[in-house]
């Protein structure tokens, strides 16, 4: 699907001007150390630390630039609405296999990559950063830089494009993003098994070591929900082997989980995202827990002290971030050891020496 009509060509020229204008604006702001708050659709405004600076809206920089389904690669502008991109892929029987959460209709591709968040399929298919092939960006000096490429295997130069995934816009304003895409599974079905959390963890880790076509997992309360994806024959055979009851309206279930619209996420209690080794037992925290990714991701609704939550996460081989809370705090993300933080500061210096891009969104001094 190569896009080339006259109106799109005019659009390309407008986009070119927009980037030139942005580059100039960043350059000016760098001179006066004026912080900029980058915002695509605003769907993840809640995520990360206090936002500083004047609004830098990127939603106008939108559109799919190149999509060849048989190459398994799509390139789109960062402001492209995620739903528009996903619809274009779905029309060709393909998908973003990391199942990015949207958190609102307005979510953009740029926000999905900058936040680096992945959805239910992550443990089976990989994360947002795993699918990044190339990124063009404006750095904190307004320089237009392209890293990586539009091909599947590329080891020329440092992998700066993957570094942008999860950097929360602190290293550059993302412009064009190339991603690997995958075919949608031919067939999916979901099962619910009645198990408590320790039994669920035991089974999940055992099954993950067998070639079952499990593409998503979720345990809450006494129900372990599994999604199987693949060929009809393979999925049906696995379903017979794994047992449990068929889940009706499974697509809505996984969507609600991904979008945090499930009842677990409903109340105002602080929501922690705790990433741990998959075999870690249920975490010793008050409140409620939901687990995904074969046990490697735990969501906790708890009023426990942040230091304690972080200690529990660390002992389980991972880290904790305060994902949503009634009030934003200065450092929702897990603190880094000194040497790692020093390296982060030096990398920030490389891409944004004036410290103007999304200052403080990830860590107070980045």
């Amino acid at each position: 699907m190569t896009q080339g009509s006259a109106s799109e060509f005019a659009g390309t020229s407008a986009m070119h001007n927009l980037v030139a204008h942005w580059s100039e604006r960043i350059r000016r702001c760098a001179e006066t150390a004026q912080p900029l708050r980058i915002r695509g659709g605003g769907s993840k405004d809640f995520y990360g630390a206090l936002k500083q600076g004047e609004l830098f809206a990127t939603g106008d920089y939108s559109g799919i630039l190149d999509y060849e389904p048989t190459e398994l690669v799509v390139t789109a502008r960062a402001g492209t609405p995620l739903r528009e991109l996903e619809a274009a892929l779905a029309a060709q029987g393909q998908m973003l296999a990391f199942e990015p959460p949207h958190f609102s209709e307005a979510a953009t591709l740029g926000g999905a990559i900058a936040s680096g968040l992945s959805g239910p399929r992550r443990a089976a298919s990989g994360s947002a950063r795993d699918f990044v092939l190339g990124i063009r960006l404006l750095d904190g000096r307004g320089q237009d830089l392209a890293f990586g490429g539009r091909v599947m295997k590329n080891v020329a130069g440092f992998d700066v494009s993957r570094l942008m995934a999860g950097a929360m816009g602190t290293l550059g304003v993302l412009l064009d993003i190339s991603l690997k895409v995958l075919p949608r599974p031919e067939h999916e079905l979901s099962l619910c098994l009645r198990l408590d959390s320790s039994e669920a963890l035991r089974h999940l880790n055992a099954w993950a070591g067998k070639p079952h076509p499990i593409s998503a997992t979720c345990h809450e309360g006494h129900c372990l929900t599994l999604r199987l994806s693949g060929s009809a024959a393979g999925v049906d055979a696995a379903a017979r082997q794994l047992g449990g009851e068929r889940v009706t309206q499974a697509a809505a279930f996984w969507r609600a989980l991904r979008e945090h619209e499930a009842s677990f996420f409903a109340d105002d209690t602080p929501l922690w995202r705790i990433s741990v080794r998959s075999t870690a037992p249920a975490l010793p925290l008050s409140g409620r827990q939901l687990l995904e990714w074969n046990g490697a991701l735990r969501w906790a609704k708890t009023d426990d002290d942040p230091a304690m939550v972080r200690d529990v996460a660390r002992k389980a081989g991972g880290h904790a971030s305060l994902f949503r809370a009634p009030r934003t705090i200065d450092s929702p993300f897990h603190p880094l050891p000194g040497a790692a933080m020093a390296l982060h500061r030096r990398l920030k210096q490389v891409f944004d020496p004036a410290g103007i891009l999304n200052r403080g969104r990830l860590y107070p001094d980045l």
Partner: protein, 509 residues
Amino acid sequence: MAGITEHAPQAAAEPPHLAATGLGTRERAALAAELRAILPAESVLVEEEQLRPYECDGLSAYRRLPAAVVLPSTEAEVCRILATCNRLGVPVVARGAGTGLSGGALPHPGGVLLSLARFMRILELDPIARTARVQPGVRNLAVSEAAAPYGLYYAPDPSSQIACTIGGNIAENSGGVHCLKYGLTVHNVLRVRLCTIEGEVLEIGSEALDSPGYDLLALVTGSEGLLGVVTEATLKLLPNPRTARCVLAAFDSVTAAGDAVAAVIGAGIIPAGLEMMDKAATAAVEPFVNAGYPLDAEAILLCEVDGTEAEVGAEIDRVDAIMRGSGSQHIRISRDEAERLRFWSGRKAAFPAVGRISPDYYCMDGTIPRKRLAEVLAGIARLEKKYALRCANVFHAGDGNLHPLILYDANQPGELERCEAFGAEILELCIAAGGTITGEHGVGIEKIDQMCVQFPAEVLAAFHAVKHAFDPAERLNPGKAIPSLHRCAEFGRMHVHRGAERFPELPRF
């Protein structure tokens, strides 16, 4: 040859530590004394006959002796060596098994060659968490062998997997024939311990599926030893597929074979392996291995499907139908494991087979958008005439990674130079087709000039700045992977003056 002259006359404008002439006797003795304060005497090699085995890696056209080779056996020793070299201003090149094909482990003449050969232990294998914690000198295949009793394996499988090490795989972000479906090294490493040039250890990544802050693991993977030295890695293990079958299909043009690949992918199938060989490659391997490849075909495809019996059975029928629909006149489907392995034996033997029909060969490594394959192969055919050298092509067709094998004879005056010029033009064809100069072998010293073609100055400057964030004085593998802007400025003229660059060992001032 052009690639080896980064410390020749133009070095005057380079930082002094890059303008490396070998060390003098006195400096060499002082360095050895410092290193022997860290390591037992037998782990510090300085005699020429001891250094000789380390003079090159898999890119054997480039050879140099380091000032010293060190063989540490603990992380603490690695840290002290790095800190010492940093203090003394001595370059350090890390080396695993030395199987790399881009000269990434080529020693620096004034520097220390840091061998990780003694880091050979699998420290922990957790079959429940499906992870292996290993030292960097562990061989790639040894991880899968250790995991096999649990029905698990380590997915990246570079062709050198019997010898190459995990540390080298991480440095190069190695791939293999199965990476379309199972990913590259970067997708299969969870955590590393990285020793910095200051001698500090950074834990990067974790046992969880993600980590707070920047994705340093992605940055370090494939960084060709420029950012630090990996002293330990935690790898992801995957369950072995229950079964696999392979389709062998022959085509009367590379275009038809390329279209068949697109049709397979377009049908929503992600094969475990999808390889193409052109006529020159099949002609080289068939007499060698008797894989049963039809010799009259212009191209053959190997398409492997894995999974459960039910999945594989259904998918193999679809692949068969697609190959027929794409005009293949000759299709065979492996009936048993022996036949599947026989189909693959030819592809796996492609490099040695080419080595059998030609005194030397030069393996290139570019990636292109698959749809440009026929055009790039036609370009390579034109270059065969231009340089009067033959080229056989093998292709990881699923992910667009092309390995042209240029046949030459290093004993014929001028052939190596012609071969290198041929290779350089192939890489430039890949860039022009929207691809890249290296899919999995790395830049090293080999493709450093083509980096100047692929990336503009501002991007190269950003790469240097990233390097400086880890290694401000450029001690780690200097002169590799990222060309200096000065070198790029020289590059245009280096083409013209190629003939004058023949004696890199001679100091030029």
